[in-house]
Subunit: 391 residues, 2 copies
């Protein structure tokens, strides 16, 4: 950080690669703390409302552009883990503080490397192995049984870059679709889970961690749909999930907020699925439900400031994602109806256009039970419609 030469206290500048909703919510947490957010984004159209004040237009896939951007920030962070390796190397060589560190990002970007790091640290994950040829897939299935999931090591998200295979017959077509010169693959046992869990862990440069509550998540079509806090699992399972999440973040040397996605298997085993090296959709509820949101704690961590209180301050909180229903304007119909639902906190991201399945916003509600909170959040979410309605 460039603070040593400054005698007067001044507003620190946090650079963010990308100007989407995660950067937007980081910025909403930054302003009241006197932090200036500066966004690097390829064009102004991709930068959401609230972020255009300190924007630098440039391609964050270009190492030179990123290094130039870093010269005017105190610390660099990101809202998207898919930063090209050449950029990570350039950032590292430039000496700018970057959290998560390029080393952590490299471990996470390659999901097979990520799994190995977790396994090496004794964190339970679904059985998996590297595969170099289609024959390796068949052999893995022979050892672990069908079905198996063939996955790309890089750039997979929201279910993209995966194939579930039920028999050896399905290997060739999946291999053809997924493999390629830039796409190493690995294979996992199919995990018939009972429940999906997530935990946000925030870790500072000194290794101190705060842990947000373990939450139950509901995915639809591989996209986060509902988050229920706290998890309704038994206390000992919740404690175990929390421990595993912290161990996972330590295993990859994380600094800042990390989203840890986990499965509860049919056998009652808790397995870490994967890590997101950033603030995460499963932690949005913390804006209203915790004294210090994931966004504020991420900023505190990357700036070397004390971490804040991550406990729930209501008995329960539920977040429901608002997904685009059709192509059309990004501002929803039904807003007045949604606002008439008492206790619903509506967050619209202000994207210019809606597309089916696109994350357009979310609704959070607090309650004395998860059921109560979910009824409020779901009622508001139901009132909103993103996209042009069929005539």
């Amino acid at each position: 950080m460039k603070t040593a030469s400054h005698h007067e206290p001044r507003s620190p500048i946090v650079g963010v690669l990308g100007g989407g909703q995660l950067a937007q919510m980081l910025s909403q947490a930054a302003t009241p703390l006197g932090i200036t957010i500066s966004i690097l984004a390829p064009d102004l159209a991709s930068v959401l409302p609230g972020l255009r004040e300190g924007v630098v237009i440039g391609d964050w896939n270009d190492p030179e552009t990123v290094v130039r951007f870093c010269q005017h920030v105190d610390v660099l962070t990101l809202e998207n883990e898919f930063v090209p390796p050449a950029c990570l190397n350039a950032v590292e060589a430039s000496g700018v503080a970057c959290f998560p560190t390029p080393a952590s990002l490299r471990l996470i970007q390659d999901k097979w490397t990520q799994k190995r790091a977790l396994l090496a640290a004794g964190v339970s994950v679904v059985a998996c192995d590297e595969v170099k040829t289609p024959v390796d897939v068949a052999e893995f299935a022979h050892r672990h049984g069908w079905p198996v999931v063939l996955k790309r090591r890089h750039l997979g998200y929201d279910g993209k870059g995966n194939a579930t295979l039920r028999s050896a017959d399905e290997i060739p077509m999946a291999w053809k679709r997924l493999a390629g010169p830039d796409h190493g693959l690995y294979v996992e046992a199919f995990c018939p889970f009972d429940r999906e869990l997530a935990v946000m862990v925030c870790r500072d440069v000194s290794g101190q961690t705060v842990t947000y509550p373990v939450v139950d998540t509901v995915q639809r079509d591989h996209i986060c749909h509902i988050v229920r806090a706290p998890s309704q699992l038994a206390p000992d399972q919740v404690a175990l999930a929390r421990e595993r999440a912290v161990a996972a973040v330590i295993a990859i040397g994380g600094v800042g907020c990390f989203g840890v996605e986990m499965f509860l298997t049919a056998e009652g085993e808790i397995l870490v699925n994967e890590l997101a090296p950033r603030v995460h959709n499963s932690g949005h509820y913390s804006i209203e439900a915790c004294a210090c949101s994931q966004f504020e704690n991420h900023l505190r961590a990357v700036l070397g400031w004390p971490l804040g209180d991550a406990r729930l301050r209501a008995p329960a909180a539920v977040m429901v994602n608002l997904l685009g229903q059709a192509d059309g304007p990004g501002h929803p119909a039904g807003l007045a109806e949604a606002l008439s639902v008492a206790g619903a906190h509506i967050h619209l991201y202000g994207k210019a256009r809606s597309m089916p399945g696109r994350k357009m916003g979310h609704v959070t509600a607090l309650g004395s039970t998860v059921e109560e909170a979910e009824a409020i959040a779901a009622a508001a979410a139901r009132s909103l419609y993103f996209g042009r309605r069929p005539a």
Copy 2:
């Protein structure tokens, strides 16, 4: 509003005259609701961080500039009630929606007219009268006893434009200081109050109101210093204060949020002191302490949207203002220490420079009691220092 001609839902534009901390906090509430805030301010330097995205540079004392600004907004509002009469007339003539209405603003800007409107509606206020000459002051004191407070009808705030007179001897000098061709005066009985109270009332265009909790306020040197929610008064007095606040806002035809300042006299009487036709320092605690903050409810009201829940969602909340201690940078020293106080919500306004007594930010804490919340907020506030420390 210019919505009739639009077939697709779109982000409404709320114009705000002024770019200070009240506009900043309005903007923080606006973005998640898909509302675009556009600021009219005389220069970029006066516009706080977070507001520079939609800023229009221009003098809001100039009627033509204001009318031109109104052409691109759906509704106009303000963070400062001292809009010149010529501008109010021009806004009215232009037909743009403006809340509070120019009519309400005229009633409030002239404090003597404000008092008469409250009296006409049966709202209890401190004994007061118009004064045309120094002799009128002496006659008022003869009827009501010394001391009396001589006040300017216009442009008084934070104790400026007032003089407390203990005897007839003090009249000439005070008259000379306060009176002038643009400064009509009025006089009030001196009110030795036990406690100062405030209530935020939000009223929509249809006349529906929501009322925030009655709070105890502590002023130092006529500037709001601490706000304690809820008021520790007896329930029947709280109910009376709330009733009077609502009656006062109805009396002046308020739409949007209004801060109603009140006294509890030594005799146990609750008197309305004055109204602020806008979001107000005594309501900042609502950002964390209520499901729907005063800022969000103000936006809902001026846009004709349903009002939100204004109840406390913790047993108690306390806000402590952060005032500049010396000239110097606007970013405080001691931020890391302040952030180490668990549960303290720090709000820095990001002003470029600190000056003694200038409002630089505030801290809010929730608690199970007012005492608990105040201990947290005060501890964080104590750690912060605004201005250059003496060498």
